[in-house]
Amino acid sequence: MSTDLNAIYVIVARELIKFVREKGKLVSTLARPLIWLFLVGGGMSRVVSPDMGMPYMQFIFPGILGMTILFSSIFSSISIIWDKEFGFMKEMLVAPVSRFSIVVGKALSGTLVSTIQAVIILLLFPVIGLKIDAVQIPLIVFMCMGLAFCLASLGILIATFYENFESFSVIMNFIVMPMFFLSGAMYPVKTLPPALGLLTMLNPLTYGIDALKYMVFPAKGGLSLTHDFSLAVDIAVIAVCSTVFVLIAGIMFERKK
């Protein structure tokens, strides 16, 4: 057990060291949410009618946090493809540690890296005129971590099926963009036609963003357009998905050819 904790620790430490050494990467991954928030959000707010009870840019703020987490968590699993490609994965696979600790270590690395990015975006709230109390911030950060862990484990699960970078990045783009649009990040889920609404409900990101809406707009708890599920459902779905993803990924790692 303590070997497994050590393994998790050192896998996370390695990823953080590499994250810190690659400073350029942080800037480039932060660019995407910033563009969406200010260009898309800013532009759309002129078109969208203001009957949702708040400016559109504020409405999409939880969705932009979700987007930051989605991209950086899922794409953090690319490190698994690199580790396979450059052989480092073998160093981990022959070590006397449980395969689950490798998966959890990788998922936690993705979690930390994307939470750092989400926090940077979160701190922009005064710029868009949003009021967030100091007490809300730890809750939001905590929720970001939960969602990040869930999506990072999904990315790892997908990465276990791929050996090389090309096919992996194709499938990732194929999954990530629909996940983003079918998540309630940009519009309330309730406004979607039923078929798309069903897809949204299969998307863990939907629940993560819904939960973030509870934490970002606590006063507007009853607002019909902002919330789609109860907070308990949101958190339960994220927790169950995370567990299932980690379990399957661990089993996939254990499987030998």
Partner: protein, 328 residues
């Protein structure tokens, strides 16, 4: 009890029998060499022994633990240097070793001491805070060997450890490896397709097309192709040959201006030759059979194929090129 025991091991990749019913044992604290050309099945065998692959049939055990059913016991007992490097090139030498120490549950208070000692052992202590991408091929290889023994494994696997190294670093690495059983109490299982490197092994198995064709000590194997050959240059070859026939009963033939004599123990024979020929001898040369001769005799072909080293280097540079561009 042998520390590695393999029985009737087979591994098929589709229609290809990469390993085709091999069996062997390795004694504790020895160096065992697995010798064979590219594609013979050496890496596949190592991958099965180190729990990364499961065999199609047969058994493999390390220190009494079955490699398939008791993988976690086996993983605790082994250290591996894979054919292709598995270092993290973005991390420093120290960080690579430290990662390994954590992964293998080396007690934390020993990390620094052990890592420093290992780096000192391989002569890289003053480079410990350099990123591995700045290291030469030989330095990386030595670092991997050091990493492989930091958790004090019972068996160290080395898959073509000198592939792609220049002769100087190759010689250094061999010197280093040959000291391991004594210095670290580890059994070494190594593969190579360089015959002359196999000389340091206590036992050698020659593998070709997935089958072991012979298994023995280097001396035993060489005896299979006959004894040594002595080449003599004398002031008068004809006279000398007659003299040898008369006094020692040895048949000597003349070839390219040299006398050519076959003997079982050539080194012990030379003093007698010289004393019986008195001052006719101008020069003496002893040629011992090589493992290459053994391989040639058993398979009818030479083992050598130097192209692979440069092929791997090429693969490496393509990968790092792709990494640079894809990541953006």
């Amino acid at each position: 009890m042998p520390i590695i025991k393999v029985e009737n091991l087979t591994k098929h990749f589709g229609p290809v029998a990469a390993v085709d019913g091999i069996a062997f044992e390795v004694e504790k604290n020895s160096i065992f060499g697995f010798l064979g050309p590219n594609g013979a099945g050496k890496t596949t065998t190592i991958n099965i022994l180190c729990t990364l692959l499961s065999p199609t049939s047969g058994k493999a055990a390390i220190d009494g633990h079955d490699c398939m059913t008791r993988s976690s016991e086996v993983r605790k007992k082994i250290g591996i240097v894979f054919q292709d490097t598995t270092l993290d090139k973005e991390l420093t030498a120290y960080e690579n070793l430290s990662f390994h120490a954590y992964l293998y549950g080396v007690p934390k208070d020993l990390h620094k001491k052990k890592i420093d000692a290992a780096l000192d052992f391989i002569g890289l202590y003053d480079r410990k805070d350099d990123q591995v991408k700045k290291f030469s091929g030989g330095m990386k290889r030595r670092l991997e060997v050091a990493r492989g023994i930091i958790h004090e494994p019972a068996v160290l696997f080395l898959d073509e450890p000198t592939l792609g190294l220049d002769p100087q670093s190759r010689a250094n690495l061999w010197e280093f490896i040959s000291k391991l059983p004594e210095k670290s109490g580890v059994t070494v299982f190594m593969t190579t397709h360089y015959m002359e490197e196999a000389e340091i092994c206590n036992r050698i198995a020659i593998i070709d097309k997935g089958r072991i064709i012979v298994n023995g000590t280097p001396e035993e194997l060489k005896k299979m192709v006959g004894g040594d050959v002595i080449y003599l240059k004398t002031t008068n070859n004809k006279l000398a040959a007659e003299e040898l026939k008369k006094t020692m009963g040895i048949g000597a033939e003349e070839k390219n201006g040299e006398l050519f004599i076959q003997a079982v123990r050539g080194d012990a024979c030379i003093p007698k030759l010289i004393s019986s020929l008195a001052d006719m001898v101008l020069s003496v040369r002893l040629q011992r059979p090589t493992l290459n001769d053994v391989f040639l005799k058993l398979t009818g072909k030479a083992i050598r194929d130097e192209a692979q080293g440069s092929g791997d280097e090429l693969k490496d540079s393509i990968r790092s090129y792709r990494k640079k561009f894809d990541k953006k």
